[in-house]
Amino acid sequence: MSEPLLELKALDVFYGPIQALKQVSLHIQEGETVSLIGANGAGKSTLLMSIFGQPRASAGQIVYRGTDITHKSSHYVASNGVAQSPEGRRVFPDMSVEENLMMGTIPIGDQHADEDMQSMFELFPRLKERRNQRAMTMSGGEQQMLAIARALMSRPKLLLLDEPSLGLAPIVVKQIFQTLRELGQSGMTIFLVEQNANHALRLSNRGYVMVNGEIRLSGTGAELLGNEEVRKAYLGGH
């Protein structure tokens, strides 16, 4: 097996006296789509943010492409090929769609901005319709598309997505996951953090299940979908 793109080794993260992550280990191979599912407050978003050093891990190691990035700053991580679409979308409300996309090019400069923006408009035709509109005035689904597109503008090697389905209508969620599937098939490495276990696991090559800050289960997407415990806890007997 080749060296993983990203590997977390026995990561411990604390918020003050509270331990949010306990000895979390996982790895992501290049080209894979990996999802992390779990209930509210299980520590999923914390794990994602700790890759960016916010909060910092107090023990353990984060290795990205052979480099230890445990103690690197957020902008170092972001400018070395890890892009994220943060929880709650967080697009720049007073900037237009195009300007938001331009902000995504900060880590690599704007020499590819032209063609990349074109391909984002192909990936999300809705954004093309709204290219000069302020991000604040768009629907939640469109903002989520924009957040993903903005992350992709930096030509990342690894795309981190935090709850892209949050607060969206089922049909929009379906659209977004369809686009993510296309992205994954085109070779992008995706790490998806989701509560919507059904959608996430169907999309993924592999998955991890997090409970109370620990990785409880792991396996291929299909295995986890078939797992009795997962079905009971997250899929509500679907």
Partner: protein, 428 residues
């Protein structure tokens, strides 16, 4: 309801009620101020003066009320109450229809000192100094969204930079001008480092403390700064030529060198012209900065810090650059202020000054350059014009602020900026 208005556009009764209400309010406001005159040890009631003011207010309100019921008036009202807030994004190749106004203003400004009296000149100099301060704070508060209540500290550093530099090192106006900007920028960085993690209210309190610390140091370090007695500041010179009637140490004063008669307002004309050039330069630099990546980064930081960091922006650099550039502008303003007054003391750098500068930025419209320039002149020239009402200056301020926040919550001039497109432009 709407059809009733359409059939009978003039609702006279409503206008009359409006007029009576306005009259009552003006009676309450102006009655005690205008109507009661202290004469020796007794009060004189001046009913007719009050009646005249109230009458004018009522008539004005009646006319306004009638006008607002016409189609034109209603359209105006609608534009006032439009809820379309936020930054207006212009097309990248947008050219303002008012472009011709800039060269015209420059020409007017250049010939202005020939006609202006010395008094008018000093008022305009003060206005320009506040324009500089407003532009500087606008970067920190308006663009980067960092609420700074101690901004006057950098202004003080500039002003005292000139006074102390002359007293101890014999430096003149021209040497101190860049040095003061540099020193203020360093102080900005000094303040910037500890507050990097702070937001909103906490940041405001820390900067407020910083401003007071600087003022108190200036006030209490008697041996070095002269304390409340202040320090004198040298007059500026042009290529070593002084603007006094007789030059010191056997030098040649400016007017003798060029062979015309002495004019006491020459010093102010000189300060005015240099200040005007500096203001134009700062305006230009600011205009360019908002179109550069760093300007984008400031605005992004104001809108969402977490998203900024996820984008890989180095927020330390972004915040520090905003603090430093803002502070250096205030340092420049301080040098001009000191040489215009010929004297500095800590009483010029109180919290009220910070609040005034912040008022200029808020009134002008956060982030809007034209708005800040207009507001700076409004808030410094208006008190001069209303000299007789000097005590009511702060009251005027308060009323203006309240009205502004109701009708123009985004400031006098709505912030608009040109959009950014990739270099080659995306095909439609």
């Amino acid at each position: 309801m709407s059809s009733a208005i359409a059939n009978n556009p003039m609702d006279i009764k409503k206008s009359l009620v409006d007029a009576v209400l306005a009259g009552l309010i003006s009676l309450i406001v102006f009655g005690p101020i205008v109507g009661v005159v202290l004469d020796g040890y007794q009060y004189n009631l001046e009913i007719d003066r009050v009646a005249m003011i109230v009458g004018v207010v009522m008539l004005g309100r009646f006319a306004l009320s009638l006008f607002l019921q016409t189609a034109k008036g209603m359209a105006m009202l609608a534009s006032f109450e439009s809820s379309d807030s936020g930054v207006h994004v212009l097309a990248p190749d947008y050219k303002s229809r008012l472009r011709w106004i800039i060269p015209m203003l420059i020409v007017i400004a250049m010939i202005f000192p020939i006609f202006a009296s010395k008094y008018l000149l000093t008022v305009v100099i003060l206005g320009l100094i506040y324009v500089l301060l407003g532009l500087g704070l606008n970067i920190v508060v308006g663009l980067a969204g960092l609420l700074d209540l101690g901004y006057v500290a950098f202004y003080a550093i500039g002003a005292y930079g000139l006074a102390l530099g002359y007293e101890y090192l014999g430096l003149g106006f021209w040497t101190v001008l860049p040095l003061a900007a540099l020193a203020a920028a360093m102080a900005g960085a000094l303040l910037g480092f500890p507050v990097l993690r702070m937001h909103g209210d906490y940041l405001a309190i820390v900067t407020l403390g910083f401003g007071e610390i600087i003022r108190l140091v200036l006030n209490n370090w008697l041996e070095f700064t002269g304390g409340p007695n202040g320090m004198s500041v040298p007059s500026p010179s042009f290529m070593g030529l002084e603007f006094t009637r007789r030059a010191k140490d056997g030098g040649v004063p400016f007017h003798e060198f060029f062979g015309f008669s002495y004019n006491p307002s020459m010093k102010f004309i000189f300060i005015y012209l240099v200040l005007f050039l500096v203001v134009m330069l700062v305006l230009y630099i600011k205009h360019r900065l908002t179109r550069m990546p760093v300007g984008r980064a400031w605005e992004a930081l104001r809108e969402d810090e977490i998203a900024c960091r996820a984008m890989g922006l180095n927020h330390v650099l972004v915040k520090l650059s905003a603090f430093m550039i803002g502070a250096s502008t205030a340092g420049l303003a301080g040098v001009f202020f000191a040489s215009y007054q010929g004297f500095v003391n800590p009483a010029s750098f109180t919290f009220f000054e910070s609040a005034l500068i912040l008022a200029i930025v808020v009134l002008g419209g956060m982030g809007s350059t034209v708005g800040v320039v207009l507001a700076a002149f409004m808030l410094t020239v208006a008190p001069e014009l209303l000299r007789t009402f000097a005590e009511y200056r702060v009251l005027l301020f308060g009323i203006l602020m309240v009205l502004m926040m109701i009708w123009r919550p985004r400031g006098l001039i709505r912030v608009s900026r040109s959009g950014v497109v990739p270099r080659k432009g995306v095909a439609p």
